[in-house]
């Protein structure tokens, strides 16, 4: 049979079943008619002939079924029937369907969502042709263990000497203001980038051209390639934008190309200008640092590239030992996420959340088993009629597949919905205006397949184990039990352990979940308490990033110092003008929005210069003289920073209470702080040079935003002048970055919005100044709060699933006990047992399991609850949850108890 006929036959059988069956019926009917005629010719009467023809055939339906069994894919019929039966069972056992379905849906959503999120974070893939072959290059510092950026000198050397890599280039990124020739303004994420980036990414422009090598030559015409969204919003989607002139950071640039939607290489950029490198930049000692990229050459591997770069690195260390002694070149996948411990932790979290599904399925299996044993009679009869154990198990697996399959599909839809929100929140909290261009909120095909595979495994777990238990034992024995009405599968040790475990988990998780949600519920984004006598009104504060564009970046150290000094004066002038606005109560500058991202490896605290040092892992925020007052900081000890502390020679700092709590009861005021050498961790602020010492002059409660946002972290508030803003400060390391500072404005009560006037004031001071991320503190911290709420709700959902399954499991056990021991209950009742005694008899096993579970859960939860919650919140939550659990279980057991009490002895005996 050729392939065409083979496919045609199977197509007919699958999709034209009615025609195929009709033909089979016609064929069999013809046979019967012909045989009947033959027998009539042999002398039978017509009726006799008809009857004999049927007997000779062996039964019409049997023959048809035998034909069906020879068809290819006939096993699909069996599965289709099982699935239909499964749907019917779902409708019949609606409570199991509801509880199991909800539990599996939520567990799938959490497991799949977390898995996708972590995968996109830790091991993202670039949506570019052979994106896995695009790499980034930097150095590893052998002393600190962290990474160190490469320089444009390295770029030149590696281009010349490394054959495993092609399209090598460099980039630096910044936000700049863009003004179109028709007056539209906006902020764009600019990449100053090598033209080779476009050959590397292999994405053709939508309109015009991308950057070419000629654009990189010093003195070439200033050109810019814009992203799709910029073209749509700032150029009005002009069908002919090529050749238009825009002002980028105050300097004109000609638009030469528009890139397609979602193109954002290297991160989330929407404007690209050529990276022009002076010959002077190519000296090893003075070459500016940059982010380097490349693509593995055809036939090259990551290992071969590393090997080749290693050789080049050793040569550089020999030629320039002062510069390269500690550095060795490193090449990694471009979009690689966090590595090392962080990646391990994230993967661990992902595994735990996936395991949640396994735990939930195991619990649902308990409920399914309880339902299966009530069908023991049906299963015994089917076995007696010829069904094999395999066939019955397959049917039960099919029923489980219907439940799990439906719940998995719902779970995927829920995951998709939540993932989108979670991703947006995540990047807002990271203060990224846009996610990286490779970030995709959709569930990847591999994740969907993974979820479906998990569903099949879950169906096997839920279907096979109960099936094996229910079909165990000889058929005869089961049939005898069926007629005798007693015995049968029991809820043995394994099920008892599972129910106890479920209850323990509920007791352990719920108090924490409830406390977390209550605490977050009490926290308000707009007005939240800082202390017993002060609150922070987040709507009273406007915050923004204040930066300065440089149309021509300063090159020499002198130019850079002058540029930054002039920038500092402009920032001060903005502060001064804002302070005179009638709506403004006070203005402050700081190195960032909060101490959240400003981590230093450890500030060594030495008290009285003679006591043993204590290492405190703290965060640092550089603040001006108005910041602490503006934020309503409450002094706990010592003093605030005074104007005298804001001089280059001063070394005074203030710390918060969380910092002091790390000192084991010592007095912080008067102590000496020594800053460590900078390690590999990234910091958004230039910390004071290694070895710098500072005196702690005061201790404050976490002020304002700090009280809400990052939590009780140790923070050092240092004068903005202590670590002066240098060309390497505040932002990406690499090419000189325009200076940026965080502006805070506290409004007077009942003052109107400031946004419009804020822009006017800033523009009036200097047109190269730029505002971005303007909003009230509530706007800023809202996403953080939402993120925490989302996390708390997920936690609560998990705890609720566990509680639901515990209660359902206990109820199932009770129902099972009552149905299995109806005769025994009837006998006891007939012998004079009172209602209370019957209730005790029925409830005995359940109450033992309940008590064991609550005890175990309390033992697990108490250490965490005592330590993690304030005051008596822990024990109170535990007590509330235990009562809730007891109450829920009692409520769930009411129906089976009522059935037990309603058993009439005479009726029960007669039924036996």
């Amino acid at each position: 049979m050729n392939l065409r006929d083979w496919l045609k036959r199977r197509f007919r059988i699958l999709f034209r079943e009615k025609d195929v069956e009709s033909e089979l019926s016609d064929e069999i009917r013809l046979h019967l008619d012909m045989e009947t005629e033959e027998l009539v010719r042999q002398g039978r009467t017509r009726a006799q002939a008809r009857r004999e023809a049927r007997i000779l055939l062996g039964g019409v339906e049997q023959t048809k079924q035998a034909v069906r069994d020879t068809r290819p894919l006939h096993w699909l019929d069996g599965i289709a029937l099982d699935l239909k039966l499964g749907l019917r069972m779902l409708r019949k056992s609606w409570s199991l369907t509801l509880i199991g379905g909800i539990a599996i849906t939520i567990a799938t959503a959490i497991g799949v969502g977390a898995s996708e999120f972590v995968r996109d974070l830790v091991a993202p893939s670039l949506p570019l042709e052979s994106g896995h072959r695009i790499v980034r290059l930097d150095h590893i510092d052998s002393e600190s263990g962290g990474s160190a950026p490469a320089s444009v000198y390295d770029l030149r050397v590696w281009r010349e000497s490394v054959s495993s890599l092609e399209h090598l280039g460099a980039y630096t990124t910044m936000e700049q203001g863009l003004v179109s020739d028709r007056g539209e303004t906006g902020t764009v994420n600019v990449a100053r980038i090598s033209a080779s980036a476009f050959e590397l990414t292999r994405v053709p422009p939508l309109l015009g051209r991308f950057l070419i090598e000629a654009d990189e030559r010093p003195g070439a015409l200033s050109v810019v390639v814009l992203g799709y969204d910029v073209w749509q919003t700032l150029l009005g989607g002009d069908p002919d934008p090529i050749g238009r002139t825009v002002q980028l950071a105050g300097a004109p640039a000609t638009v030469v190309g528009i890139m397609p939607e979602r193109y954002g290489f290297p991160q989330a950029q929407n404007a690209w200008v050529p990276l022009q490198i002076d010959a002077a930049d190519l000296e090893p000692g003075s070459a500016p640092r940059a982010n380097l990229f490349g693509r593995l050459a055809p036939g090259a591997t990551l290992e071969s590239a590393r090997s080749e770069l290693g050789l080049v690195g050793r040569r550089a260390a020999a030629d320039f030992p002062d510069l390269y002694r500690r550095l060795s070149p490193a090449v990694n996948r471009f979009a690689g996420g966090p590595a090392g411990t962080v990646a391990l932790i994230l993967s661990g979290v992902r595994l735990v959340l996936v395991l949640l599904l396994v735990v939930v399925c195991a619990n649902v299996a308990t409920l399914v088993f309880a339902r299966t044993v009530t069908r023991e009679d049906e299963i015994a009869v089917r076995t007696a009629l010829g069904a094999t154990r395999r066939r019955i198990a397959l049917q039960l697996v099919a029923e489980a597949l219907v439940l799990v399959g439906g719940a998995t599909v719902l779970g995927l839809l829920l995951a998709r919905f939540v993932l989108g929100h979670a991703s947006r929140l995540f990047f807002v909290i990271q203060q990224e205006t846009r996610p990286p261009f490779w970030w995709n909120d959709a569930l990847s095909p591999s994740t969907i397949v993974y979820a479906l595979v998990l569903a099949v495994v879950a169906a096997l777990m839920i279907g096979v184990v109960p099936a094996l238990k229910a079909t165990g034992g000889a058929v005869h024995a089961r049939l005898v039990r069926h007629s005798a009405g007693g015995g049968g599968p029991r809820f043995g040790g394994m099920w008892t352990v599972m129910i106890v475990f479920q209850i323990a988990l509920s007791v352990a998780l719920l108090p924490l979940a409830v406390s977390e949600n209550l605490a977050l519920g009490a926290m308000r984004v707009h007005t939240f308490p800082i202390s017993a006598d002060s609150t922070f009104s987040a709507d009273e504060y406007v915050t923004a990033q204040l930066g300065r564009d440089a149309s021509v970046l300063p090159r020499t150290p002198e130019e850079q110092a002058a540029f930054f000094e002039s920038s500092r004066r402009l920032f001060d002038e903005v502060r001064g003008r804002l302070a005179t606005d009638p709506a403004v109560r006070s203005v402050a500058l700081a190195s960032g929005l909060s101490a959240m991202n400003h981590v230093i490896g450890g500030a060594v605290f030495v008290q009285d210069r003679s006591g043993p040092p204590v290492v405190v892992g703290a965060r640092i925020l550089l603040v001006d003289r108005s910041y602490l007052d503006l934020m309503g900081a409450t002094l706990v000890a010592g003093r605030f920073l005074s104007p005298a502390d804001f001089t280059p020679l001063s070394r005074s700092v203030v710390v918060n209470e969380a910092f002091v709590s790390m000192l084991d009861g010592r007095n912080a005021v008067g102590g000496l702080l020594r800053f460590p050498e900078r390690r590999g961790e990234a910091s958004n602020v230039e910390i004071p040079p290694a070895g710098t010492t500072a005196d702690i002059v005061g201790v404050v409660r976490n002020p304002g935003i700090e009280a809400f946002g990052p939590g009780p972290h140790p923070v050092i508030y240092a004068p903005l002048d202590l670590a002066p803003v240098t060309p390497r400060a505040v932002g990406l390391v690499g090419m000189p970055q325009p200076p940026v500072t965080q502006l805070f404005v506290r409004l007077r009560p009942d003052a109107g919005p400031l946004d419009g006037r804020l822009y006017e004031i800033v523009a009036a001071v200097d047109p190269t100044l730029r505002l971005s991320q303007v909003g009230t503190a509530a706007d800023v911290w809202g996403p953080v709060h939402k993120g925490k709420r989302l996390g708390a709700w997920v936690f609560m959902a998990v705890a609720a699933i566990v509680l639901l399954l515990s209660v359902a499991g206990v109820s199932a056990l009770m129902s099972f006990t009552v149905s299995r021991r109806a005769r025994e209950i009837a006998i006891r009742s007939a012998m004079g047992a009172r209602r209370r005694q019957i209730v005790t008899f029925v409830f005995r096993k359940v109450s033992t399991q309940l008590l064991a579970g609550v005890t175990l859960g309390s033992l697990i939860a108490l250490p965490v609850l005592w330590g993690g919650l304030e005051g008596d919140q822990g024990p109170r939550s535990l007590a509330i949850v235990s009562m809730l659990l007891f109450g829920s279980v009692l409520a769930a057991c009411l129906l089976p108890l009522r059935r037990a009490l309603a058993i009439e002895p005479a009726a029960a005996m007669k039924a036996e």
Binding site: E23, D26, I28, L30, G58, T63, A66
Partner: protein, 111 residues
């Protein structure tokens, strides 16, 4: 019907169907009748096994089917041998002849 005859028929039903069709296309009942005729009324095909065998052979590509009008004026499904079926029949026939010769020789052996 002797039990032994139906045992033989189970193992050779496909072969007999292919033989019956070498003489021309037939519908299912016709195949059963022809086998009976060719065996001089010795072999009676189990009619319940006939149609599953016909459909199995069709699925394997040994025979192909077509709905036509029979001599009696009824619409019937006619089976005929394919090229693969002819080749398969030749192979099966050779194997059966070898087998039956071996059995006959064994039964006739005196030592």
């Amino acid at each position: 019907m002797m039990k032994t005859r139906s045992d033989l028929l189970q193992g050779t039903l496909d072969l007999l169907i292919l033989k019956a069709l070498t003489l021309g296309p037939l519908h299912g009942w016709g195949v059963s009748k022809r086998i009976r005729q060719m065996s001089r009324e010795v072999l009676e095909v189990n009619q319940g096994s006939l149609y599953p065998a016909l459909h199995r052979l069709e699925d394997r590509g040994m025979i192909t089917a077509e709905w036509k009008t029979s001599d009696e004026g009824r619409r019937a499904k006619f089976y005929r041998l394919t090229k693969e079926g002819r080749s398969q029949f030749a192979d099966e026939k050779e194997r059966w002849e070898l087998f039956s010769t071996a059995v006959r020789n064994t039964l006739r052996a005196t030592s």
